[in-house]
């Protein structure tokens, strides 16, 4: 009994000793460390909220002041890493790269385990650009990215003073890597994107890079999008995005035509291209074909003929004829004449004649001879409608812009 009461006395005394400082602090109106930390968090949160409201309103100058104030007054508050990231994003918006990079360095020192680290790494990559993606002293481990043959991992040679950043891969960070890879070496970047799509046909990082690939001016861009569109993987949204990009290919150095030449050389290349041309919007096909004919090589005609013969789709054939019509070489004229004489589809055949009529290397006699060959079993009255003066009339009509 005695020992129990002694134990209780000790327990009460210990409780008082532990609780006394808090009690004293409360009675004096002072805050405990926990309360103090909470108050700081609240104040920092208010400043962050004000700053982010300004940011979302596009007022970056004032937003920066709020973020800096929050970080200066409450450097250890909860979510300081978030505030720091917002500050970095703000400085980039203000085109103050040096300060942004300085803040990135501070971030990496202060918050090595922050969930915002991946986002900060993205910003760093976007600032350094392709030429400096592997910045001095940074070693960024992004986990496994299936991007052979040359993964776009940003890895600097190990150095005694390097800062090791372990970054969890995210689609947006992988997109940034891929974007830089395409910028740095478009052909290699596109090869990486293709490999990634084999692993994941709906890879969001690759889809987000479509615009970069389309704007790269690489001869690989056209085959890339053709393969994407011909594949079984694309969802309706991915299909739409790929088609949109195909219609916006940058044709530097006749990249699109070179791309077509390349893909038709491959096994099954012709049916793939023909199939894609058949399925995409006619306007996109027309745009691509207009780019193809800009290639100076006569091989483009061979490629177009192959695609023509590979598709039964009337609109695609008509677009090919229109494109071929702008090729001045004799071979183009011969192809058109063959179509005009032998094509079974009368609409396509008529188009071939229209196109021939616009060419300076086709005389009236030739046109009349072609008219003589026009016999359509499906439309028996056709022959009787064509008179001797038909070729001249046809040439006059052909000056009217043909609707696609």
């Amino acid at each position: 009994m005695k020992s129990n009461s002694l134990l209780m006395t000790f327990t009460i005394a210990a409780s008082l000793l532990v609780g006394a400082p808090q009690l004293q602090a409360q009675t004096r109106g002072q805050q405990t460390p926990a309360q103090n930390a909470q108050a700081q968090n609240d104040q920092a949160r208010v400043l962050f909220g004000q700053g982010s409201d300004l940011w979302y309103a596009g007022n970056f100058v004032d937003a920066e002041k709020k973020f800096r104030e929050a970080l200066r007054r409450y450097p250890t508050a909860q979510y300081s890493d978030r505030t720091s990231f917002f500050l970095i994003a703000t400085l980039i918006e203000l085109a103050r790269a040096d300060e942004a990079l300085s803040e990135i360095q501070k971030f990496n020192r202060a918050y090595p385990n922050s969930p915002w680290k991946t986002d900060v790494e993205e910003k760093r990559l976007s600032l350094y650009g392709p030429s400096r993606s592997a910045s001095a002293g940074y070693h960024v481990a992004t986990g496994s990215i299936p991007v052979p043959p040359a993964p776009p991992r940003v890895v600097a040679p190990p150095t005694p003073f390097s800062v090791i950043l372990r970054v969890t891969p995210s689609p947006s960070l992988e997109h940034e890597h891929l974007r830089i890879a395409v910028q740095k070496d478009a052909n290699q970047g596109i090869a990486i994107a293709r490999e990634r799509l084999k692993a994941n046909p709906s890879d969001p990082a690759v889809i987000a890079t479509f615009g970069e690939i389309a704007g790269s001016g690489s001869p690989q861009a056209f085959p890339f999008f053709v393969v994407v569109l011909a594949g079984k993987g694309p969802s309706p949204n991915m299909w739409t995005q790929a088609e949109f990009s195909l219609g916006r290919l940058k044709n530097d150095n006749d990249a699109v035509g070179k791309g077509l030449l390349e893909i038709v050389k491959e096994k099954d290349g012709v049916p793939i291209v023909s199939g894609v041309f058949t399925r995409i919007q006619p306007a996109t096909t027309q745009k691509v074909l207009n780019q193809v004919v800009e290639v100076p090589s006569v091989d483009k005609l061979v490629a177009l003929e192959k695609v023509y013969k590979g598709t039964p789709a009337q609109p695609v054939r008509i677009f090919i004829l229109q494109s071929v019509g702008s090729i001045p070489e004799t071979a183009a004229r011969d192809f058109l004449m063959e179509v005009a004489k032998t094509e079974r589809n009368m609409t396509v055949r008529t188009m071939a004649m229209h196109v021939l009529a616009t060419r300076p290397d086709v005389d009236e006699k030739t046109l009349n001879d072609i008219f003589e060959t026009v016999v359509s079993p499906a439309r028996p009255g056709m022959r009787g409608q064509i008179s001797r003066g038909g070729a001249r009339e046809f040439r006059d009509q052909s000056t009217v812009q043909l609707a696609p």
Partner: protein, 233 residues
């Protein structure tokens, strides 16, 4: 060898007038100014006892001694700093080229990095939509980091999601001819609705997983101006 403390004591006693020491000259100048000010005052200096003047002398000696000691300490510190700087310079000179410190905020030529924004890939996209994408990207990044236990953050996100939803129809209309952006805005809209209609903080985890799976941040980012170095233009 000039002794500052001795000179000043002598100067106070009127035993000497000039010195080559800058520090002592400054001391004399300030003291003279004080004396002039006192002399100009209408108030007479009260007569003081011998005890006071002896105390004054002691205090003056002590102060002078303190100032001298402080000056010596500064000199010593300066010497150490100079020695350290010299050693550091030597170390840097010897190890230059083998050091590879985290990238300084300058380019390889040591000049500040100048950036600009490339808008060619979105030249025909409504600028209002571009702004909206930028705001949305940051918001989605923020949502994807929210801890389910932080109710205030979840409430903030819901409130902002509601506001964004109010304006998204207009953005989709403005981006109607830009298929990838329209698709991204559709995806974003569905995420916003999920955030707004969360019935449990735990739902945020599912939303975060979906944001990641569809690569929403990457898509929102893809149709914004790209940072380019001015030298790359």
């Amino acid at each position: 060898m000039h002794d500052c403390q001795k000179f000043r004591e002598d100067w106070v006693a009127g035993a000497c007038e000039v010195t080559a020491c800058d520090s002592c000259r400054l001391f004399c100048k300030e003291a003279e100014a004080v004396l002039v000010a006192l002399g100009a005052s209408s108030r007479q200096i009260p007569e003081a006892s011998d005890l006071y003047w002896r105390g004054f002398e002691n205090r003056l000696r002590t102060r002078l001694a303190e100032r001298t000691a402080a000056a010596e300490l500064r000199t010593a510190r300066f010497r150490w700093a100079a020695a350290f700087a010299a050693a550091a310079s030597m170390a840097v000179a010897l190890t230059w080229g083998t050091l590879n410190l985290p990238g300084p905020p300058h380019d390889q030529a040591g000049t500040p990095i100048r950036i600009d924004f490339d808008r060619n890939h979105i030249a025909d996209l409504d600028p209002g939509v571009v702004d909206f994408l930028r705001q949305s990207e940051l918001f989605v990044r923020n949502v994807s980091k929210i801890d389910p236990t932080y109710r205030e953050d979840i409430e903030d996100a819901r409130e902002r999601a509601s506001r964004s939803l109010a304006g998204i129809a207009l953005q989709k209309e403005a981006a109607a001819d830009f298929d990838p952006v329209r698709i991204t805005l559709d995806e974003y809209e569905s995420i916003l609705r999920e955030i707004k209609n969360m019935d449990s903080p735990q739902n945020i985890t599912d939303i975060q997983a979906r944001i990641r799976r569809i690569g929403l941040v990457a898509n929102l980012k893809a149709y914004q101006p790209r940072v380019i170095h001015v030298s790359q233009r």
